[in-house]
């Protein structure tokens, strides 16, 4: 198997202002204040920090805020009814004004995703074993020869046999709304293995070997 696209794909600087784009609502307003690149006035910054300090209502606080539907969020209603007063906030420096983007910011949605590990590195290609993540597989069932040109310069410099990566094929939507097919290989920056990880891995291996289907 070779990649569908021979074109190396770089990460794009999304120019993200994700607080504006991804999720909304009263708590979303609080992250809007955090995520705003340079809110236009110190008052807005102070208001944003004040909202960020208030307890979120309803959902678990580990939820990102809901999208803001004007007048629809119960949390917005409670704010409008004056249940919360902004505490005093220290002075902030004046940030330059910024015009929020009116178009959707780029996102990259995966249609197909594999996890692979490198088995061999040649002059122009590398070989890997692949696990089909999209299909829910847990065992490597495919092998691929992948051009090194598909790998970013930084990843190419540090990849070695055994390196683990994700290969994602999908559609990227640009700021203008245009859609293009993208193939991207990303090497994982995994946490360092601990003794516990090794013990857990050995236990898992024993379990697999002992299962009737192994």
């Amino acid at each position: 198997m070779t990649p569908v696209s021979g074109r190396q794909t770089r990460f794009s600087l999304a120019g993200l202002n994700s607080a504006r784009d991804v999720s909304f609502g009263e708590e979303r307003e609080s992250i809007r204040g955090l995520g705003d690149p340079c809110p236009d006035t110190p008052e807005r910054v102070r208001a944003a920090i004040g909202r960020a300090r208030r307890e979120s209502e309803g959902l678990s606080r580990t939820a990102l805020p809901e999208q803001s539907l004007p007048g629809s969020s119960p949390a917005l209603h409670s704010r409008e009814s004056g249940q919360h007063a902004d505490p005093p906030i220290p002075r902030f420096p004046l940030f330059p004004p910024i015009v929020p983007p009116s178009r959707p910011l780029p996102s990259f949605h995966a249609l197909q995703e594999w996890e692979g590990y490198v088995t061999d590195i040649g002059a122009e290609n590398f070989h890997a074993r692949l696990v089909d993540i999209t299909a829910g597989a847990s065992i490597d069932g495919e092998e691929a020869r992948i051009p090194l040109a598909e790998v970013s310069d930084e990843d190419a410099g540090r990849m070695q046999c055994g390196s683990i990566f994700r290969w994602v094929i999908g559609y990227e939507r640009s700021m203008g709304g245009a859609r293009k097919r993208v193939s991207q290989i990303v090497f994982r920056d995994l946490p360092a293995l601990t003794r516990k990880d090794i013990r857990d891995g050995q236990a898992w291996a024993q379990e697999v070997l002992a299962s009737p289907n192994s």
């Binding site: 990460f11 990102l64 999208q67 539907l69």
Partner: protein, 238 residues
């Protein structure tokens, strides 16, 4: 592990939210680069929105990071989403191990088009029928233009296999971000893990739970999102 969603979202984001006690002033692009958590060029290329003792926020390639004193958010709109798991585990498993963390959430958010306002109305009225509202149902009208569901959240309490206090929350709303506010649906899944008090003095328990459960959370979330998407296809057929 992820699965393909039956409708391609126009906006597709994943995030990990941690609750605890953080020091936002250190969580700058330079800190991440110094600890080899982001590429070397991220320090210059990152867009630092604010860096303050109470809040830090920046965007770098695939990552949006927001930190307050009580909350840390790593978010991405670019697959592979597993990068945010790896990043959070490295930050709090290798560098900030003594950070008190009391809870965390694995979140997935999508906005997708359903092919028209009528299909969207059909989905909303399947989830929240207007007919049960008695006399008010007439005032709610026959379409979303007049009235109906603006937000619905379903919660599963104490899912098995995790400490008590966990929840899975699914929120569905008409999308205001795509389709000119008329043609899209927003679905957000929050998979919330509570960390017992005796373990909340450091990040150890969070690291263990997140490393074990992240992929299950993502797969389960995508199944829930796909289930809502299936209503769109049924609505379109009517």
């Amino acid at each position: 592990m992820s699965r393909a969603l039956r409708i391609e979202p126009e906006i597709d984001a994943a995030s990990i939210v941690l609750l605890g006690h953080f020091n936002p002033s250190i969580l700058t692009p330079a800190w991440f680069v110094h600890h080899c958590l982001l590429p070397a060029d991220a320090e210059e290329s990152a867009k630092l929105h604010v860096a303050h003792p109470e809040v830090t926020s920046f965007g770098a390639e695939w990552l949006e990071l927001h930190a307050r004193q009580d909350r840390f958010v790593a978010e991405t709109k670019r697959s592979p989403h597993i990068r945010i798991r790896d990043l959070v585990l490295r930050v709090f498993g290798e560098h900030l191990k003594h950070t008190p963390i009391s809870a965390f959430g694995v979140n997935r958010v999508v906005h997708y088009r359903v092919g028209g306002p009528q299909t969207r109305d059909s989905v909303c009225r399947t989830l929240a029928p207007t007919g049960v509202w008695g006399a008010w149902s007439d005032a709610l009208g026959a379409s979303g233009e007049q009235g109906g569901m603006t937000s619905l959240t379903m919660t599963q309490r104490n899912p098995s296999g995790r400490p008590p206090g966990g929840r899975i929350n699914v929120t569905v709303e008409p999308s205001t971000r795509i389709g000119k506010g008329r043609d899209g649906i927003y679905v957000a899944v929050n998979d919330h893990y509570a960390i017992p008090g005796e373990d909340a003095h450091s990040s150890v328990r969070m690291v263990d739970l997140l490393s074990r459960n992240y992929e299950w959370s993502v797969k389960h979330s995508e199944g829930l999102i796909d289930q809502v998407m299936s209503l769109s296809q049924e609505g379109a057929r009517r």
